[in-house]
Symmetry: D3
Subunit: 138 residues, 6 copies
């Protein structure tokens, strides 16, 4: 099994409506270190899991839509629910859609999986992993 | 699959009775960077793998029983056998028991797994992973 | 010359009024990794730069007043001017005042300096350093 | 499931013949941070995944054959194909052969897996994982 | 005293002619993590050491001239002398010239210093620091 | 000003006699990440601050005398006073003596300084810096 990972980061504001979150109900923010990992059992014709340039561009493009914003106003997180877990899931699904558009010779050979890991502080991270089996051939 | 990880650390003394360990038979010590990861396929009602506050408190409480101690005197490691692997296993099992007491809305949805990873130096770590499927409902 | 450093972190929201900051004029946020360093030429009676427990408590206490808040509403940054540099300066001056209250045997021997370094992302940090010579004897 | 990881690094030159790689077709180089992880379900007689000293020696010995070299001249990467993925695969297979020679009491109990992860820059890594089930008994 | 730091990286090949360098006489390479720090006693009109966007652009532009190249062919290192120290010095002087062209409201207030630190492996780095006092007013 | 840094680590046990240290009066231990930095205004004949191979060997040799030991039994720390500050001072002075024996073409050009920084946990470090001006010519 091969894996390839690239990283980037975003700086966002958010808050939580749910009293479960205590002080994090207040408007605050985070620098999220974002690690995107793609795994596949075999390599493509260029001896790579996928085109790392395309991978970086997709990660940046998907992140750019959130960078320097207030997630409380984002449609993907209704009712102020932008937990790190939900944010990782949103990013992973958005990236999976973009990966489906990569030219076949630079896309991960099926079956593949994708994982988005978010480092929210020096002492906490969350991630979401999903199969990409339906992406490379999309 | 979702994951949530928090980290902490402990400073302990120990030694090994087994000649297999060479110079580590002498009394020495370690700062262990400790990473606790919980994985679950779905999120609970608060859009999280589990209550991160409870997760941190459990990690700290379990670590506190070992912090600033000599593991050679600890009942969990008879015959001076506190390898990083055995320590990770001990911590993981202790934490699993505590996770079973977390109120259901803040506990990881079953089935879940728990992993304790111990960084013993800049160039070495060990970990132990176990299923938590019987914990959330305990 | 001796140095002692402890670290912690905060999660805040903020924005900048000045058009100079481009997209950072929008409400966003940051996880700031915070490193507090105290330097002194000699050690105190306990063979340390200062009481590391007091140092950690002071850092946490000063950070707690900002953690999980929106810096745009904080009196120390009028006109939405909470750049990393100004935040480091504010924290350093606040911490210097608190260090002046540490019992003499746990305070840094004069002359001493204090530095607050803020890691705002994996690729950027800012810091502010000031002399503490008038603190230990305050 | 237990894991044990040790790390080391190498400094190599290489280039890629395939136009797919853009500017990386030019002769350049990399410091690869190398992490070798072995996983096994149980521990051996010494309460460890495997003899960490042997593990480090094997990693260093296998890396030494590449350290301070130009991978373009290495037989394992014909046609200048030393992508991080292919390098990880080459290292993993070379290490697997060496692990098969470790005395049984210091070898990972079967079934086991081995993973080689290569950090090529602060923002990218690649890895290759293979089962070792046929190694411990070799 | 204020400091502001941004980081980036390059991947280069090089070798050393001097027998002093042992195995590093062979063609090899490095990923250099590059940290650019600017220090000034005061802040400019925008409450920053300098325009961080300009700082990043200058660092990237200066690095781009070396990225994915063989330093043995670079005029700045005659006789294959591209030690980390000489590379840091070359980068610092190149960046200093570029900093002199930054519009005054985004430039570091004089007197200022600049430091380039190069991380060549997980266990070694080198740096070069020079005064910028003649740059801001250039 | 040039700097060159290499790092290594040790694993030791220790305790403190002074009640000032609270729980750290108990026998515990630490993994110390050790960073040795040498600074000089100019470079030697080989375009380096000093021979990095000699620097690494000296650091390892000095650390080896403490690695896998109990510092409570070490003559350098009478009355169980091996604080990180005192340990950094002891290492720096020991290393300074060894640096004085390095052949002149590989020694740091005078005037130079040496700094030993000890990372004792993910959230704390201490360091000691001393001038080496009398070492290179010793």
């Amino acid at each position: 099994m091969f894996s390839l990972c690239v990283s980037d980061h975003i700086m966002i504001a958010h808050s939580f409506a749910d009293p479960f979150f205590g002080p994090a109900q207040r408007l605050h923010g985070a620098t999220y270190g974002v690690e995107l990992t793609v795994r596949s059992a075999t390599l493509g014709p260029h001896h790579v899991v996928m085109d790392i340039g395309a991978m970086r561009d997709i990660l940046r493009r998907v992140l750019a839509s959130l960078d320097y914003t207030n997630l409380d106003e984002h449609a993907a997180f209704p009712g102020r629910t932008s937990t790190s877990e939900r944010l990782a899931e949103f990013l992973a699904k958005s990236i999976a859609r973009e990966l489906g558009k990569v030219p076949l010779d630079g896309a991960p050979p099926a079956p593949a999986t994708l994982c988005v890991l978010l480092r929210e502080s020096p002492v906490a991270w969350a991630s979401y992993e999903l199969p990409l089996s339906d992406v490379a051939g999309a």
